[in-house]
Symmetry: C2
Subunit: 162 residues, 2 copies
Amino acid sequence: MLRLTKKADYGLMALKYLAEQAELADKAGADLHLSGARSAKDIAEAYHIPPQLLAKILQTLARAGLLVSHAGTNGGYALARPAADISTFEVIRAIDGPLFITSCITIHGTCDLAGHCTIKEPLRKVNDSITSLLSGISIADLTEPVDHLPAPMAGGLVSIER
Amino acid sequence: MLRLTKKADYGLMALKYLAEQAELADKAGADLHLSGARSAKDIAEAYHIPPQLLAKILQTLARAGLLVSHAGTNGGYALARPAADISTFEVIRAIDGPLFITSCITIHGTCDLAGHCTIKEPLRKVNDSITSLLSGISIADLTEPVDHLPAPMAGGLVSIER
DNA sequence: CGATCTACGACCGTTTTGGTCTTGCTTCCC
DNA sequence: GGGAAGCAAGACCAAAACGGTCGTAGATCG
């Protein structure tokens, strides 16, 4: 499956939305501090996703330092950093937790299959490739889709340039 | 979490094991047809994984055409193709089903969020990169670990600490 | 004060995972 | 020919993860 959860999806959509709002507010020369701030409800309505769920996701993102929140009337969330400085990897990790492609690699690097898991090492490299791939894609890239993609493999070896 | 299931892990381990057995049998000049065939129980014992579960996984793999099975006494499973010709992607897809990184991309290409899922397209590219990454790694590569690692993508804006 | 909004934790139904059991069919070997 | 060893397949089940809701509390602005 190797798929990310709906929550992560929602989170990315929300971030992208906020990035667009920030850009708009920027052009209008709005107050920098809260430029593009939007309430959870607004975003939820824009994408037709459950408001309460989105709220929780945004809270998580805020706790992770990716968003700044402002309570009270006309409050809401805004990007804590420029969209180009927030990677999709950070978002996914904040929402879905640390990503480890194989089940035997834990945070402690220990494998529950102890000695006999012979496959751990090669998969860890795959894992690293994916994280660096995701790290290379920022929220800004979602708005303006990335055109330079990792090239497919060569021969039997993994070779990804750029 | 973006992690693959234990079944896929088990499957890969089993394939790797069979690849090693095939290599050994090859060197000994054994009968080509069943070279390196091993029973599910043998493999399960080698890695301390539930035999019945492994059996089911191997059956799936056999149905997918990655393994050939042979019933009866001294039967078992063997690689249907050379290890270098079986990609990890095939294995994972056979076990875990089609892999789509985002929940909104289905087999029909439809997004349950219909028009308002603005994030689908960029993520599909990420998805493609991962599949081609996995496609580039064969079972043989698991035995002889890939040394050439994908270079982190350009624009190292984000530093990942673990 | 009161209308908004975030913050947070408890809770719950559904799906997915991981794993077991049972039954049946093949093939080999004595 | 009859077991024993092995695959094949499906029903079944418990535990965990996922997706989502609710209720309450606290901040902020007008």
